[in-house]
């Protein structure tokens, strides 16, 4: 497995794990108060920050352990197509957030829909890239 493919796995797993931690922390605070009264902002910022830091640390570790491969044209093609596919969820998330703002939903829901869209986008990108790495990229 090349460095870039490993990197794809790191980003996919981190997206799932950090969002899972975020949801678990938020839900754990609903025992004594309603969901909309949970102070989600610091939890959201901390999990995103932790995800970025973890990504940097793991990539440094990966690079030191397996060596930094060159990012060749296939890696770039896979990255580009994977991101393109994943972005569909960002568009859906942005549209959903816009509609929710128009209908004056609580900011809790708007922020969480956007965050969920980012996570789903990352997961979809990860799946697409993994399939391209394993099964190949289409055609000339």
């Amino acid at each position: 497995m090349s460095y870039e493919e490993k990197s794809t796995w790191v980003m996919g797993v981190l997206a799932v794990v950090t969002y899972g931690i975020y949801v678990a922390i938020i839900l754990s605070q609903t025992a004594d108060r309603p969901l909309l009264e949970v102070d989600y902002v610091p939890v959201l910022l901390w999990t995103i920050g932790a995800s970025i830091v973890a990504s940097i640390v793991i990539h440094i570790f990966l690079g030191a352990k397996t060596g930094l491969d060159i990012k060749d044209p296939r890696d770039r093609d896979i990255y580009r197509r994977g991101e393109y596919i994943g972005q569909s969820f960002l568009v859906i998330g942005a549209l959903a957030a816009m509609l929710m703002a128009m209908f004056e939903f609580d900011t809790f829901w708007i922020a969480n829909v956007i965050y969920l869209a980012f996570v789903l986008s990352a997961i979809l990108s990860f799946i697409a890239k993994s399939v391209f790495y394993r099964r190949g990229l289409p055609t000339w």
């Binding site: 497995m1 090349s2 460095y3 870039e4 493919e5 491969d69 060159i70 060749d72 044209p73 296939r74 890696d75 093609d77 399939v131 391209f132 790495y133 099964r135 190949g136 990229l137 289409p138 055609t139 000339w140």
Partner: protein, 71 residues
Amino acid sequence: MVKPTSVTNSIKALRASHGEMTQADLAGRIGVTRQTLNAIEQGKYSPTLELAFQIARVFEVPLDDVFQYPA
């Protein structure tokens, strides 16, 4: 899901006829990872035209001897 390419190649045979050149050796000479060269060899990835010419140049053969397109 992934549309296979109709382009075939003779990279494996050419490597064998050039002193049992390994995938890693050839990959290093054209500046890609061994995994990418393996994907090209198995028809799972269509290389750029420039990469195709680079492979042909390593073996010192015309492009047609490396990549074939069925009539």
